[in-house]
Amino acid sequence: MKKLLTCLLVLVLAFSLFASGAEEKSNDGPIKIGSIMDLTGGASNMGRPHSWGVEYAIKKVNEAGGINGRQIELYTQDCKNDITEGLNAYHKLVDEIGVCAIIGPALSNPASAWVDLSAEDKIPIVGHFMDEVCTTNPDTGAVYPYMFLAEPSCSVQSYDMAAYALAELGLKKYAVLYNPSNAFAKAHAEPFIAYVKENGGEVTAVETMGWADRDYSAQAIKITNSGAEAVFLCDYLAQNLISYDALRDAGFKGAILGANTLAPPLADQVKNDVYDVYFLQNYDMLNPNVGIINELVFSEMAATGTESPQCNVGFAWDAVQVLVEAMKKAKDPTDGEEVAKLLEQTTGVLLSSGDTISIDPATHRPNNMGMYIATYDENHNMVICGREDIY
C-alpha cells in the first residue's frame, strides 16, 4: 500500500512539474513582464510617472497585437529606492510570479544589486539606471550580460553638461556639491570633475553632504568663497532644493548646473529667485513637434494629476520599446538568453523623442544618444537652450 501511495505521489509530482513547465514554455499564453519602480521612496516623484509610463506603453503594445500575437501581462513592484526592497521586488517577480523580463527603474542603487542575479536567472532587465556600474563591472570592464541601459549613462550626461558649460557658457571655474552616498550623484559628480579638469577648466571646490544633513550653508559659503563661476548639483530633488537655496542665500551669483533632477518642479519650490540654471534633459518634452514625448507627458499629467511634466514617462516608453522589439525578434520571447542576445544587437529602435537608439554590445549602453540642455525662463517654464552629442 505504501509503495502504491509513493508511486502515485511521484506521478502526481511529475505531472504537476510537467504541467507547470508546459505552461511556462507555452507559445501562445500571455508573456509576463515585471516592472520595478520607486513608488513610495525618495525618488517616487520620478518613479510614479515612470511606472505609469510602463503601464501605458504596455497597454499600447497589447492594443497593437502584443508580441507576435501574445499579450503582455505586467506585474509592478515598489523598490522604494532601497537595495533590500529592490531585491525583494526582484525575487517576488522572478521567483514567485515568474516574469521573463523586467523594466527597471531610473535608480542605480537598487539596480546595482541585480547584476549577478539577472545573470543567474537569465532575466533581461532594461532600465534607466544610469550609473555605469549597473551595466559593466567597474573593475574589469566586463559587461553584465542581462543588464541594459536605454539612455545615456551618468558619465555621458555629465560630459555633455560640462562640455556645454565650457564651450557655450564660457565658464572656467567650477564647484561641485553632492552626496557621495547617493550612487546617482556620485556617478555624475566624478565624471563632471574629470571632464572639466581634462578640458581646461578648474575645479575650485568639491563639497559634500550626507543623507541626514539638512543644512548646507557651511558648504555653500565655502563654494561662494572659492571663486567658482558655476556649481554642479546632481542629487535628487529634495537635496537640490536645499542646495540651491543655501547657495543663493550664501551670496552665490553664478550659474547652477545640474542633472535632470533640477527639472520642474524645482523652480516652483525654491525660495530664491531662479536664474542661470542649466540642467540636462533627455527630451525636448514641451515641444509637440518631436516624437511622442509631449503627448506622453501631458497624458500622464492629465491621468494622474501630476503638476509638472516628468521625463520619466518617456524613459518608460523607451525601455518598453527596446525590450519589446527584441522580444518580437526572438523565436521564444520568454527565453531570457535569446532576448538578451537580441537586446545586444538593438539598433534603430524608435524612441519617444523621435530619435532612435542603438545599444553598444560592449557596454550595453546606447552609443548614439546625446542630451538636451534646458533652463528656466522668468515664468519658471522649462526651455531647451542647447544640445550636446558626446557619446
Binding site: T40, T208, R214, Q219, L237, D268
Partner: protein, 293 residues
C-alpha cells in the same frame, strides 16, 4: 567669514534648540526620551502646509503657527491617551515608554510616506527677498525668523517653568510624582500640561522647519537625532542645558563642516555626546539624570 559662520551656527542651533526642548520637557517630567516628538513635528509640518495651501486668502504665517500648535496639542494629548496613559496606569517599566515612542515615530513616518511619498513639498514663499546684509554678513530672513520665534518661545517656556505655580508643580512632579500627589498637586493634569507644551513646540517646529527645509515624512525624525544629542549634552531633562547645548552644537557643526567637510560631522557630534556621557554625564546643566541612555 568667522561672523558669517557664527551667525549661521546660531541659526542652526535655534532649530536644534526648538527640537531639543520639546524632547527635554517630556523627559524632565516623565523621565523617558520621547522619540515620537519627531513624528509629531513631521505631521505638524504637513498640517501647516495644507492649511496654508487650502485656506483662502493664504493666512499669515503666525496664524498657521497658531493653528498647527493647537493641532499639536490635540495630537499630543491623543497620543498620551492612547499610548502613554495605560503605561502610567499599569506602572509599567520606563522602557515601555521609550519603545512605544520609538514605535509611534516609525508608524507616523511610514503613514506619511504612504500618503505623501518622500517628495518634498514647499510652503509658499514668506519673503520677497530671502536675505539682508548687516555689514559683510548675509543674514537669511528665514533663519532670523526661526531664531526670533525660538528665542521668544524658549524664554516664555523658561518663565513658565521657573516663575509660575504650574511650573513649580511641573518641577515637583518631575522630582517625585507620588509625593507631589500627596501634597495636593494633580500630577495627571501636570502630565497633560507637559504633553500640551510638547505639542505646541512640535507645531511651531513643524511649520518653521517646513518653511526652511521643505516638508517630507522624515523631516522631524531626521532632526530629532540632533535634538536628542543636544538634550544629552545639555543634561537630559534640563531645558536650560538643552538650549545651551543646542546652540553650541549648531555653532560647532557649522565650523566643523566648513573646515573638515560634512562627512565627518556626524562622527564629531556623536563623539562629543559620548565624551559628555563619559566625562560629565550630568551634562552642561550639571543636573544628573539617572535614566540617561
Amino acid at each position: 567669514m568667522f561672523l558669517q559662520l557664527l551667525f549661521n551656527g546660531i541659526s542652526l542651533g535655534a532649530v536644534y534648540a526648538l527640537i531639543a526642548v520639546g524632547f527635554a520637557i517630556v523627559f524632565s517630567v516623565l523621565k523617558f526620551s520621547n522619540f515620537a516628538h519627531g513624528g509629531m513635528i513631521s505631521i505638524c509640518a504637513y498640517i501647516g502646509f495644507f492649511f496654508q495651501k487650502t485656506v483662502k486668502p493664504t493666512p499669515p504665517i503666525w496664524v498657521t503657527i497658531l493653528f498647527t500648535s493647537l493641532c499639536g496639542i490635540v495630537m499630543s494629548l491623543f497620543l498620551d491617551r492612547i499610548v502613554y496613559a495605560s503605561i502610567r496606569r499599569n506602572k509599567s517599566p520606563k522602557n515601555y515608554y521609550f519603545l512605544s515612542s520609538l514605535t509611534i515615530s516609525i508608524i507616523i513616518t511610514a503613514i506619511l510616506n504612504v500618503f505623501f511619498s518622500k517628495n518634498p513639498l514647499a510652503y509658499p514663499m514668506l519673503f520677497s527677498s530671502t536675505t539682508f546684509n548687516v555689514g559683510n554678513i548675509r543674514i537669511s530672513r528665514m533663519d532670523t525668523m526661526i531664531l526670533i520665534v525660538s528665542v521668544v518661545l524658549l524664554v516664555l517656556l523658561i518663565f513658565l517653568i521657573d516663575k509660575t505655580k504650574v511650573g513649580l508643580a511641573m518641577r515637583a512632579v518631575s522630582i517625585d510624582p507620588e509625593t507631589s500627589k500627596l501634597m495636593g498637586i494633580n500630577s495627571n493634569f501636570i502630565i497633560l500640561m507637559t504633553f500640551s507644551l510638547a505639542g505646541i513646540l512640535a507645531g511651531v517646529s513643524g511649520v518653521l522647519l517646513g518653511c526652511k527645509y521643505g516638508v517630507f515624512p522624515d523631516l522631524g525624525q531626521s532632526m530629532m537625532i540632533k535634538g536628542f544629542i543636544a538634550s544629552v549634552i545639555g543634561g537630559l531633562g534640563s531645558l536650560g542645558g538643552a538650549i545651551a547645548a543646542a546652540f553650541l552644537l549648531g555653532i560647532i557643526e557649522m565650523f566643523w563642516t566648513y573646515v573638515m567637510g560634512s562627512l565627518s560631522t556626524p562622527v564629531m557630534t556623536f563623539v562629543v555626546m559620548l565624551l559628555f556621557l563619559f566625562i560629565r554625564p550630568q551634562g552642561i546643566s550639571g543636573r544628573f539624570a539617572k535614566e540617561k541612555v
